[in-house]
Symmetry: C2
């Protein structure tokens, strides 16, 4: 099954490569009979244009890349991504683009970036943001950053992380909780929340603002901060550890729903009642959160819309209409059933 090329067809049809190319791409410029003939022969020989060679000329690959901060198995497990991709996918479908998921190569975003043959990138919540940005710029393809600290002159889509986080913490405090566990998404800055960046920092700030308003702060005693990976397993593991430690927070505030759900599951299995014994609040409002029992109180962010908007902007940029504005989408507290007043203990 040796590859058939445009040359084979040209020779067999007794025409030039140009004619064959035209037959496929600009049939109008050829006599109908010629097109027919070429196509027939192509069919017979089983010819298909090589997309790489085509891209080489056109400078277009017909695909956009989504740069994700974690390996695929890990990140795809968080319903956050599918939800976001749904929005991106809408745009892709409309304009016939394919979608490539680009995870770090051996931990390096840079290596991943270099090899991806795409017309543009969407970056999702990047760690190591600045260095990646540098590489991205030099790669010369347009990109839109999502959930990262926006950079002047570069298009960005974000949500009101701080406002949302603040609302969540306020909600918890308003119910009377004072022994609170904050669960952050694990980053490179283990334990040093002053060094958090982007989404992480903003959410942390939101939490602290609410805390401060009640004369509290992350003090390692009443209010503690821990980190785990943003997976159900991450939430379960960290909460198991807390359980073992003997400390009994009356509320958990997690930076992602999937973490919160992991905690909930673990707590339930450990015989705790939610919310009677433990209140839980999340962030994201993934569809699953409405389904768990009790339904999870969380902060809604317009994930799909975020994906759509980012893709839309990228598309413009690919077509030369770059628009470096920064967008901030609203968040909103969704009070469901996983938060209640702490039981007198």
């Amino acid at each position: 099954m040796t590859k058939v090329t445009i040359d084979d067809i040209a020779r067999r049809a007794g025409v030039s490569k140009t004619a064959v190319s035209f037959a496929f791409n600009k049939p109008d410029r050829l006599a109908a009979a010629t097109v027919q003939n070429i196509l027939a022969i192509a069919e017979e020989l089983g010819y298909m244009p090589n997309p790489v060679a085509r891209s080489m000329n056109t400078g277009r690959t017909g695909t956009i890349g989504v740069l994700v901060p974690q390996p695929i198995p890990e990140i795809i497990r968080n319903p956050f991504l599918p939800e976001f991709l749904e929005g991106v996918g809408e745009v892709c479908t409309r304009v016939n683009l394919s979608l490539m998921i680009v995870p770090p190569v051996e931990g390096s975003m840079r290596r991943a970036l270099v090899n991806a043959a795409v017309d543009g990138f969407l970056t999702l919540g990047l760690e190591e943001f600045k260095s990646t940005m540098m590489v991205l710029r030099r790669r010369g393809v347009p990109f839109v950053t999502v959930d990262s600290d926006p950079i002047e002159g570069m298009p960005a889509v974000n949500i009101d992380d701080q406002g949302g986080a603040r609302a969540a913490m306020q909600h918890i405090l308003a119910h009377g909780h004072r022994e609170i566990l904050i669960l952050a998404i694990r980053s490179g800055k283990y334990g040093h929340y002053e060094q958090y960046a982007g989404t992480l920092r903003d959410r942390m700030q939101g939490y602290r603002k609410a805390l401060n308003a009640h004369g509290l702060d992350v003090d390692g005693r009443q209010v503690r901060l821990m980190e785990c990976s943003s997976t159900e397993k991450g939430g379960r593991q960290i909460f198991r550890k807390v359980l073992k430690s003997g400390w009994r927070p009356s509320a958990v505030v997690a930076m992602s729903d999937i973490i919160a759900i992991g905690v909930m599951r673990e707590a339930l299995e450990a015989g705790l009642r939610v919310p009677a014994d433990l209140s839980i609040a999340g962030f994201d409002n993934i569809p699953l959160s409405a389904w768990v029992n009790p339904p999870l109180t969380t902060v809604a962010q317009p994930l799909q819309k975020k994906g759509r908007l980012a893709a839309e902007i990228l598309l413009q940029a690919i077509e030369g209409q770059s628009d470096p504005r920064h967008h901030v989408l609203p968040t909103k507290l969704v009070a469901r059933k996983s938060v209640a007043a702490p039981s007198a203990s």
Copy 2:
């Protein structure tokens, strides 16, 4: 931001293109000092090798494509895909491949296939299977079919659809149900289940075998068949229609969990009790199914494993070790809480 090419670097460094290429790909073959110098200049000028040009020579793109039968927004909404991709992703991560999702272009698989620059394809539950296969073969890249009728000489990964479906229906019948709604995933063969192919046909056969053993069949009276798209919405819509029609099946057997969950939600909202008033069984055992209330009785299939196996085989094929065996993974009934005996009505 005009593109920097290998020529620019070569000129600036006073070396040949070969040297520059070596500096990046085979540094051992160059004097250390030369490599240093070239790399420094590349850094300074912001040079990155063009992946398309590279692919042109190497014949490798470093990505595998997953051919999906529906537009991205639709298919990604079914947790089935992320679960499958998790398995695929494991393999990709290990060998540093990217993953491209390739949906039909304007309804045509063929058009999608032609443009995707990948080293190999995984096809997922293809409709129009044969014609797509033809195109795939002529495209000349290796591929592994998943959830389609296996073809002699082509590697395939499937599950025991028939056995699983049969078990589900048996379970329903054993509880005493006789008024049953079967919900099939919408295909091109609307209403003609004799023409179903692949997974659809196998599941249908499984259902019918169980039915037949009880002297029943899809007769449009006691046991009816309807089709809907494999989304929550699809399930909701079709069940709403059933509710309006006045017919009251005591059980719903759906070909996918996400459909079953849509039905459950709709039924619950309509004031029906599950399983007291309506028993529901699904297929797939997506994680969500364990979470809904009541937890969904379903047929488990090893989605992740399926993805991993298929990717593994594809990988071999890409590396020239093609192995055209057909694999069939087992399925298993998972009895949870959504099925009970019908209430006397």
